[in-house]
C-alpha cells in the first residue's frame, strides 16, 4: 500500500488544486491580482525565461507590492515550464486560465509556444501581454499587446540607417530557418526594394546547429558589404569566430534586435570587436538613464547575486507597463478595462525607453538604436531610431 500512496497522493493533490470561482473578473479579488505565463525554465531558452519572469516581471512587482500594490491589490505571479515545447505551452496556458484563473498572460517566450496559444487566448478573451518574440503573427489581435519590437520594424530601422546615412549597397543575410529568421528575411527584401537594392546572398542555419562554416564561406564568395546575423547567440558567435578564422574582414557584421545582447558578445570574445547591431534596450549595466539606474538599484536590493541583463530588464519593463495599465484601469479592474487603459497610454515616461505610446495597434515598442562593439561593450552610435 505504501508503494502506490505517493501516486495517489499526487493525483489527489492535482485534483485538489481547483480554486473556487471569484465573483469579479477572473484573477482579480479584493486583495489580489493574479497573472502568469508558460515560459522556458528548461530547454534552449531557460536562462532567458528565468530572467524575464523571476528576475524581471517579479522584480518590478516586488517593488509595487511593497509600496502597497495597485488600488489596494497586490500582484501575484504564477509561471509554468514548457521547455519551449508548444504542446506544453498549450497545456500550461489552459491550466493558468481555467484552473488558476489568471487575469492576464504576461511575457510568454518564443514564437512557437506563443503562436500555439494565440487562438485559444483570443477566443477566451484573455489579455496576452508583451510576448517575448518578434514575429508579426501577434499583430491585429484584440487581446494581444506586443512586447518586443517586431521584425519588420527592426528591419526598416536597420536598412534605413545602413542604406541611408551609411550609404551601403551590398547586403547579405545569415538567418535561422524558422519564423524568427524568415520574418526578418521577408522584411529585409521589402525594405531593400525601397532603395532599389536586394540581398546579394542569403544562407540559412537550422535551429540548434552551431557549425556555420559552410554558410560563412558561401557568403564571403558573394562579397557583401553588410552581413546581417538573424540568429540566436550560440551560432551567431560561431559565425563571428569563423569569419575571424578565415580572415574575412571586408564585410560589416550586423546583429538584429533580439540578438544584440551581452551573452552573444561574451561567447564571441574578441571576434565581436567592431561588429554593429540594432539594440532594443539601453545597456543594463552601464546606462545612466534614470529608469535603468533604478532597475539596477532594485536588482541590487532584491536579487544582489543576479547580474543585470537585458532579459530581466525586458521583464521588468513588462511588469512596469502592466502596473501602469492596471493603475489607469482603476479599482474596477476587468480585462476590458485593462485593454482600454493600455490603449490610453500616451507619452509614458519609463526612464528606460523613449516615451511609450500604445494606441490601437497594440505595439508597445517600435524603436531601437545603433551600437558598435568596442572593447567588449556595445557603444551607442545613434540616438533612438524610428520605425514609423
Amino acid at each position: 500500500m505504501a508503494i502506490r500512496a505517493p501516486f495517489l497522493l499526487l493525483l489527489a493533490l492535482v485534483l485538489a488544486t481547483a480554486t473556487p470561482a471569484s465573483a469579479q473578473s477572473p484573477g482579480v479579488s479584493d486583495k489580489e491580482i493574479v497573472i502568469g505565463s508558460s515560459n522556458s525554465f528548461s530547454g534552449p531558452l531557460a536562462f532567458t525565461g528565468e530572467q524575464i519572469t523571476k528576475f524581471g516581471v517579479d522584480l518590478y512587482l516586488k517593488v509595487v507590492n511593497e509600496a502597497g500594490g495597485i488600488h489596494g491589490r497586490t500582484i501575484r505571479t504564477i509561471y509554468y515550464d514548457d521547455g519551449y515545447r508548444p504542446q506544453d505551452a498549450v497545456a500550461n496556458t489552459k491550466k493558468l486560465v481555467e484552473q488558476d484563473k489568471i487575469f492576464a498572460v504576461i511575457i510568454p517566450q518564443g514564437s512557437p509556444p506563443v503562436v500555439a496559444t494565440l487562438d485559444y487566448l483570443e477566443e477566451n478573451k484573455v489579455p496576452l501581454l508583451f510576448p517575448y518574440q518578434s514575429s508579426p503573427v501577434t499583430r491585429r489581435k484584440r487581446y494581444v499587446f506586443q512586447g518586443m519590437t517586431l521584425s519588420d520594424r527592426s528591419s526598416k530601422m536597420m536598412i534605413d540607417y545602413l542604406a541611408g546615412p551609411r550609404k551601403l549597397k551590398k547586403f547579405a543575410a545569415l538567418y535561422q530557418d524558422d519564423e524568427y529568421g524568415k520574418s526578418f528575411l521577408t522584411a529585409f527584401e521589402k525594405d531593400l526594394g525601397r532603395f532599389g537594392l536586394k540581398l546579394v546572398a542569403a544562407e540559412s542555419v537550422k535551429r540548434g546547429v552551431t557549425d556555420v562554416s559552410a554558410q560563412i564561406a558561401k557568403l564571403q564568395a558573394a562579397r557583401p558589404e553588410v552581413t546581417f546575423l538573424v540568429l540566436v547567440p550560440g551560432p551567431a558567435a560561431q559565425a563571428l569566430i569563423e569569419r575571424q578564422k578565415i580572415g574575412w574582414t571586408d564585410t560589416l557584421m550586423v546583429s538584429t534586435g533580439p540578438l544584440t545582447d551581452e551573452r552573444y558578445l561574451a561567447l564571441a570574445g574578441d571576434a565581436a570587436e567592431g561588429v554593429e547591431g540594432l539594440s532594443l534596450w539601453p545597456d543594463p549595466l552601464l546606462s545612466d538613464l534614470p529608469g535603468v539606474k533604478l532597475y539596477r538599484e532594485h536588482m541590487q536590493k532584491y536579487f544582489p547575486k543576479n547580474e543585470p541583463n537585458r532579459y530581466s530588464i525586458a521583464g521588468y519593463f513588462a511588469g512596469m507597463l502592466f502596473a501602469e495599465g492596471a493603475k489607469r484601469a482603476g479599482r474596477n479592474l476587468t480585462r476590458e478595462s485593462l485593454i482600454a487603459a493600455l490603449e490610453s497610454i500616451k507619452g509614458y515616461e519609463s526612464g528606460i525607453l523613449p516615451p511609450i505610446t500604445i494606441s490601437t495597434d497594440h505595439e508597445t515598442q517600435k524603436q531601437g538604436f545603433w551600437v558598435r562593439v568596442e572593447k567588449g561593450r556595445f557603444k551607442p552610435l545613434t540616438d533612438w531610431l524610428k520605425s514609423e
Binding site: R4, A18, F41, S42, D82, P86, Q87, V115, K182
Partner: protein
C-alpha cells in the same frame, strides 16, 4: 464483480466532463491519447521484448498526417482522418521494421532513437507542407454534423477511439496472430520450431505498434490544436517508455495507468519550473526500484491480498 467494476469505470469516464473543471477535460484527453501510445508501445515491447525510443517520431507522423488531412480535406470526417493517420504511420513502421528488427536490444533502441531525429528533420525539411519550425495550426475537425470545437467533444472522440483500440489490444491474444506473438514472447526459439515466422511476426508487432501510435498522433493534433517539430523531441519518446515501465510491461491496464501517472506528473511538475526534470527523474527511479513490475503488477499483488479475505503479508514486491 469484474463486470460491475468495468461498468462503474465506463460511467465515470463518460461522466467526467460534467463532473470536473474544464482544464481536467483537456488533461484527461491527453492522458487518453498517451494511453493509446503506451498500449501501442507495449504491443511491441510486451510481445517482442524490444524497447523503442522513436515513438515520438511515429506520433509526429500520425499527428502531421491527421492534421494535414483535416486542413486539406475538410470534408473528411475525423474518424476517417484518424484511420488514415494510423495507416500512414503503420506503412512507415513497416518500412522501418523490416531492416530494424534484425537488430537486437541496444542496437534497435539506437536505431529507433535515430528514427525519431530523422522524423523531426524530415518535418523541418518538408516545410512547404508542414510549415517547418513555424508550426501548423490544426482547425477543428468534425464527426458527421458535429464540429469538435470544444474540449468535451474532443474528449469523447478520444475516449471512443481509445475504447476500440483497447478492446482490440485485449482481444488480440485470442487470434491466431496473437497466439503466434505470445509464442514469440515466451521463447523465440520454441516459436520458430513450431513454425512461427519470427521476422514476419516481429515486423507485424512493429507495424501494429506504429498504427496505434499514428492514430494517437491524429488525436494529439486535434486535442492540442498546434503542431511543431519541437513537440516531438526525444524526451517525449523517453516519456512513453517511462509510461510502460511505470505502468507495467505487457499489460494493457498498466499502459493506461502508466500514461495517467506520467501525464499527470508532467503536468503537476510544470510549476516547479527548472527543477522539473530533477523531480521527474527522482520519481521514476524510485518507482522503478520499488515497483519493478509497474503499477499493474503492484495492483495485482494487492488484489491477491484483498481477495484472500484476511490480512497476510503480500508476496515480495521486488527482488533486487
Amino acid at each position: 464483480m469484474r463486470r460491475a467494476a468495468l461498468a462503474t469505470g465506463a460511467v465515470l469516464v463518460l461522466a467526467l466532463p460534467w463532473a470536473v473543471p474544464r482544464y481536467f477535460v483537456f488533461l484527461a484527453s491527453l492522458i487518453v491519447v498517451n494511453s493509446i501510445v503506451a498500449i501501442g508501445l507495449n504491443l511491441l515491447s510486451g510481445y517482442t521484448n524490444q524497447l523503442s525510443f522513436g515513438h515520438a517520431g511515429f506520433l509526429a507522423i500520425g499527428a502531421y498526417a491527421g492534421a494535414l488531412l483535416t486542413i486539406h480535406a475538410p470534408a473528411l470526417p475525423a474518424p476517417a482522418a484518424l484511420l488514415a493517420a494510423g495507416l500512414v504511420t503503420a506503412a512507415v513502421g513497416l518500412a522501418l521494421g523490416i531492416p530494424c528488427l534484425r537488430l537486437e536490444g541496444l542496437y534497435l533502441a539506437m536505431a529507433t532513437l535515430a528514427f525519431g531525429f530523422v522524423v523531426v528533420e524530415a518535418i523541418l525539411n518538408l516545410d512547404w507542407i508542414t510549415r517547418g519550425n513555424d508550426g501548423l495550426r490544426v482547425p477543428a475537425a468534425h464527426v458527421g454534423p458535429i464540429a469538435l470545437a470544444s474540449d468535451t467533444a474532443r474528449y469523447y472522440l478520444t475516449v471512443a477511439v481509445a475504447a476500440l483500440l483497447i478492446l482490440a489490444a485485449l482481444n488480440i491474444a485470442r487470434t491466431r496472430t496473437g497466439r503466434a506473438l505470445l509464442a514469440v514472447r515466451e521463447s523465440e526459439i520454441a516459436a520458430q520450431a513450431s513454425g512461427v515466422h519470427l521476422a514476419a511476426y516481429k515486423t507485424l508487432a512493429f507495424v501494429l505498434s506504429a498504427f496505434y501510435t499514428g492514430v494517437a498522433g491524429g488525436l494529439f493534433a486535434l486535442v492540442v490544436g498546434f503542431l511543431s517539430p519541437d513537440s516531438f523531441d526525444v524526451f517525449l519518446s523517453v516519456d512513453f517508455v517511462a509510461m510502460i515501465i511505470v505502468g507495467g510491461l505487457g499489460s494493457v491496464p498498466g499502459s493506461v495507468l502508466g500514461a495517467a501517472v506520467i501525464t499527470t506528473l508532467n503536468d503537476s511538475l510544470a510549476g516547479f519550473q527548472n527543477y522539473r526534470p530533477l523531480i521527474f527523474g527522482a520519481i521514476l527511479i524510485v518507482s522503478m526500484l520499488f515497483m519493478p513490475g509497474g503499477i499493474a503488477s503492484a495492483l495485482r499483488k494487492l488484489s491477491v491480498v484483498g481477495t484472500a479475505g484476511r490480512p497476510r503479508p503480500g508476496p515480495p514486491t521486488a527482488i533486487i
